[in-house]
């Protein structure tokens, strides 16, 4: 028998075949890459382009309509950075809006009220099934067809819609801000003293007769205290400080109509508004589905058991359903956030200067399409990676305590 096993010809030996196929595969990949590389060199030389990174330092020479401080005389690298910041800006605001709207409609779909349930269902089905690009173009066209600044649509005296975008009142630190921030600092110090004192009192003062094993650690006292003593202390000091400061710590500036349109407040440009509305509405429809299925995935028996032990309906939700639904909701929610960030690249169709749009302009100007596409891809990969690392950390944190899901 032993002889037989050694007599397997090498071309039927699984150990050999495994290695052989992998080597074959790698050689194939390398050959393909080499072929493409030589083609690339040929192609580039035909187009008369030399691959290098030097262009990043040269003057960009094109304007960017919004974003952080930038001048056409700045370098291409700076222009690209402006695009990155704009992408992050629209993504973060979009994620916040989409989450709020999405949770609202997701919960509305589970309402016991038939009408509310149907309205939410129609909202979700409509916005989920229509391409995002079409929606963004639609919102952009809608904003462009808004009236001129003289006859803007004014909602409750502070929100103003006109062809130049959306104007909102802004909150800015006022004259009393420095005084108030001293109060805040004092509040933080006081809160730390209080929580340490509280933890020391709990840890050393009582329960001496308890077994060593049963005694909670000092850290857990601090965590408990942070919630029940430190946070209230800080809040009380902060609120007291607000009233004790003679000048207002914050001022609201409302947009005011002047000769060339509204001035002051916060202006969202038409492109930004259209992109934001499109992204938020489209993603919120998906988030609503995630939330609905997450809540429905909590086993029915859990609710019934919670009701059986006499919890109120609000307690059933807060203490039983939601803690079990959140771990189900978080992973798909993460991928929706990532989708929103990636979808912000559709801004190129309406001219909001984000990462991709700036990159495209750079490609047209320099012809260095390969390095620029590489930079764009790496930027998106970094953003995706950061978001998923953060959400994985959050997911890990909330599922830590004996959750099996």
């Amino acid at each position: 028998m032993a002889e037989n096993s050694t007599n397997i010809p090498f071309y039927r030996d699984i150990r050999f075949l495994k290695v052989f196929f992998q080597i074959l595969f790698v050689i194939g990949i390398i050959l393909l890459a080499g072929f493409l590389y030589s083609n690339m060199l040929n192609g580039l030389s035909r187009q008369g382009i030399k691959l290098d990174w030097a262009f990043l330092k040269s003057e960009a020479g094109f304007g960017i309509s919004e974003g952080i401080d930038y001048d056409p005389s700045d370098s291409y690298l700076k222009a690209f950075w402006v695009g990155v910041v704009n992408t992050i800006r629209v993504s973060i605001v979009g994620i916040c809006c989409a989450t709020i709207i999405g949770f609202f409609f997701g919960i509305a779909r589970l309402s016991s009220n038939w009408l509310i349930q149907k309205i939410a269902a129609i909202y979700v089905e409509c916005f989920r099934n229509i391409p995002l690009l079409l929606q963004i173009l639609f919102w952009a066209a809608l904003i462009r067809s808004l009236p001129k600044a003289e006859n803007s649509i004014v909602i409750s005296d502070s929100i103003i819609l006109n062809v130049q975008g959306i104007y909102l009142p802004s909150f800015e630190p006022g004259t009393g801000f420095t005084t108030w921030s001293w109060y805040l600092l004092g509040g933080v110090i006081l809160a730390i003293i209080v929580v340490l004192g509280f933890a020391a009192f709990r840890h050393f003062g009582r329960d001496h007769e308890l077994q060593q094993i049963d005694r909670p650690s000092f850290i857990s006292h601090i965590i408990f205290g942070a919630k029940w003593t430190a946070a209230p202390t800080f809040l009380i000091v902060a609120i007291a400080g607000w009233f004790l400061t003679s000048e207002p710590p914050f001022v609201t500036t409302s947009p005011v109509l002047q000769r060339f349109g509204y001035v002051g407040g916060m202006n969202l440009s038409p492109e930004f508004s259209a992109l934001l509305i499109g992204l938020a509405v489209y993603t919120s429809a998906f988030i609503a589905e995630v939330v609905r299925s997450g809540i429905q995935a909590v086993v029915k028996g859990q609710r019934e058991a919670a009701r059986a032990v006499g919890l109120k309906e609000s307690q059933v939700l807060r203490l039983v359903v939601i803690p079990q639904a959140i771990p189900i909701i978080v992973p798909p929610l993460t991928s929706q956030f990532l989708n929103l960030t990636k979808n912000s690249s559709l801004a190129v169709a309406i001219g909001y200067p984000e990462l991709f749009q700036v990159g495209e302009t750079m490609m047209n100007q320099t012809g260095q399409s390969i390095p620029i596409i590489g930079m764009i891809m790496v930027s998106y990969l970094i953003m995706s990676l950061t978001t998923s690392v953060f959400m994985n950390w959050y997911n890990h944190r909330i599922t830590r305590f004996g959750q099996s899901r």
Partner: protein
Amino acid sequence: MDNLAVTQEVKPPNTKKGPVKWLKDNLLNTWYNAVLTCFALVFLFLVFQGVFTWVFTQAKWQVIPAYLQVFLTGPYPKEQIWQIWIVLCTLSVLLGLSAGIWHGLVFKLSIAIASIGLISLLIPLEIVNSIASIDLTFLFVPLEFVNKKIETEPGTLEFNLNIIHLIFFKRRWLLGSLVLLVVTFFLGRNKHVLKQWVIGGWILSFPWTMIMLHGFGENTVSTTNWGGLLLTLILATVGIVACFPLGVLLALGRRSQLPAIKWVSTIYIETVRGVPLITILFIGNIILPIFMPGDFQLDKVIRAMIGLTLFSAAYMAENVRGGLQAVPQGQVEAAQAVGLTYPKTMLFIVLPQALRSVIPAIVGQFIALFKDTSLVYIIPLFDLLGATKSVLGNPKWQGLQAEVYLFVAVIYFAFTYAMSSVSQKIEADLGVGKH
């Protein structure tokens, strides 16, 4: 027996049904629900009032019939439209046969398609009258005919003759497709012998479609002239058909025990999933030509197809991988125990179970792909969304963005909604999720 006699007769619980009961249960069961209902009603009233006023009094829908052909086929030359009709006739034959043989879902689907065809066949002539100044070549109605129609009054002999003329001559292709659909349905009824032929027909219909659309000799229509809904459907079909096997291979690769294959698949999947589709389309459009040998250049439409397929395959791979993970290890071990090789194990044991459990996710991916085809607008190609550009670019129709975009949105919605309801039917038929 005594006990039984003594027990009192218990009335069944009150299961009275009726509109009042339904209202009480669903809209007014608590005080806050009653308040919510009132708010919702007011909200709905305002929304419907606004929408209806706009749709029926303010919107200028004339732009839609005027550009119907652009929306449906883009810049496809008018003289060659018969090539599209031949494709549609072929597909009707296949659909009719399939509906006859398989019944069920295919039958319902063809009923839906046939009724849409019938409705467009019988579009009321009044509408045609009111938009007389408009080019309706898509329906094969020449201008002079439409102009003549204004003078004819409904009910007269001439009017009826005109209807007959319109349906039986000017819309002969549409009528022909419908007749073929119905006839082949009755021909194929319960002829199970034809099964293999029909499946073969469906497979062959794909190259046939491409050849017919492209034409040959003096009837050649270059792909740059493909557009509208036609291009959207072609891109989506090619993407769906091509990304599926690629995705399965990538998923198997990612779960492979051979490190080289595993890592290459993983890096590919994660890279593609980490970047937006538009970058992949740009790579296909701008960078792929640089990587092509010599003067060999791929067609722009084909480059878009490659981009969509490569992008979609990565997502498909993740869906399939989810299904693969759900197949118990014992299945693989059992297959190995009876001596199946790796390809056979995968093909006959693992994949059927894996794919069955992820049908909803896969169809969801197909729907996403269908919506994503709209991104070729940016490259630019003139798909359904791209067609709006050429319509809105006409100064005669300026300021009609809302009408045009809504019309296109309705078409997209009809397709995606149909796809998702078909997926729900398949799920129900296979009993996914009921174990």
